[in-house]
Amino acid sequence: MLTLSGRVISKSATLSGGNEAKLYSLSTNANLPNPLREKRAFLIKQSGPVPLGYLHYFVLPGTNPTELVQENSTYLGAEFSYFGDGDVVSLSPDGRIRSIFRADSNHNSILLTEQCNNFCLMCSQPPKRIDDSWLLKEAFEAIKLIPRETKELGFTGGEPTVYGADFIKLLHHSKSWLPHTSLHVLSNGRSFAEESYAKAYADVEHHDLMVGIPIYSADPSIHDYVVQAKGAFDETVRGVLNLKRHRQRVEIRVVIHKQTCDGLPELANFIARNLLFVDQVALMGLEHIGFARANIDTLWVDPIEYKDQLSEAVRILTSYGIHAAVYNHPLCLVNADVQNAYVKSISDWKNEFAKECEPCRRKHECGGFFSSGIRNGYSQSITPFL
């Protein structure tokens, strides 16, 4: 599991003066043309002469550079040796370093806020009632630094649309600065129940934009309970309808746990009869992190116990021509008949395998586990394929 944020070993003097964090685009190219150096930070990963002219220098252990000036250099611990060329990092005056974007990853997401108007029982990013709009400002900056050939970028939260019109501005901004990058937004969809907001979103006319919206049950009461907000189901569904009226791409996401597993087939039926036009349905395993830990007794069910409901849901969706995808499940806990929908999926920064998996000959096909699962508890039914 990668450490995405932490503290630096030593920071330069110039930083202590400012209030705000600064973003840097990293380079490991010692021969980068001079005009390009003044806007970037050089990442020292190996011993050797230090190229001059960079805005800042980040030093990883074991490199011992000699010519560095203390004012614009920062020393990092070994946990950040995964940093690489093209990455975007944020360095704050108090010495915190955060990885904002990793160039060698296919799973980059920018956290826009921790505020949310839902309060899901299993939320992996528990909401905070604070003004964290600095995250949005940082996002605007980061987008200007992210390499233009980046294929895909995610926007997550909290609930990104709490920013209202400013979120729409961010989308316009991404379209301008990253015109070839697909965007994937995670949202509870409720803001789009307001038709004018859905229209504003559609008016961005982004070339490749998809929003992932969770619906946890066909029964409004159960959905509202899972997200801990009365009326959420109704708003979310109306939000989806408005988005589709404006021809926007929508993915329905379902996290499967004890409160949602029994209703999976009926939910598949509901989607097939009412939301046939959605672009795909993602059926996802539970991440044992955030609120899920506090509510684990309410939520935990061994996936092997709902494998048949999962199969039925996939079968229903597939029969109706809806693209279904199964994420975040170890391969040995699902039936063979979901193979076509199965995705080897967990974001690379948070997955591992359990000790039981050692002899398994199908690890390369398997999505593995969330590291949080390995740490906090996982299925007792793991069976390696021999």
């Binding site: 309808l241 589709k244 009226r245 046939l276 036009f277």
Partner: protein, 95 residues
Amino acid sequence: MMKLNLSKEIYCLEAVQKAAYRFIDRLTVLIENDGDELACNIDPVVGHEAQFEEHIADFKREILDQQLRKQIKEETEPVRNLILAYAFSRTGLQG
């Protein structure tokens, strides 16, 4: 041949008529006003004499079902109009 009297307070004419219609291939039912009751004069259709008792029993159950249908229909008329208004509005989606 049999006569079935139904209290108007409980059974409405429409429900009895509809039930009678459903059974038109098996029973001939003529309905008349009889004070505060509806009087049904029931004869079997030719060829259905043997199951007359059975058909009468089914007919009675059908009257109850028709009452229920009427209740549902009346209660849902406003929302039915609302749905149709949506269906024919211009802001709807094409499935």
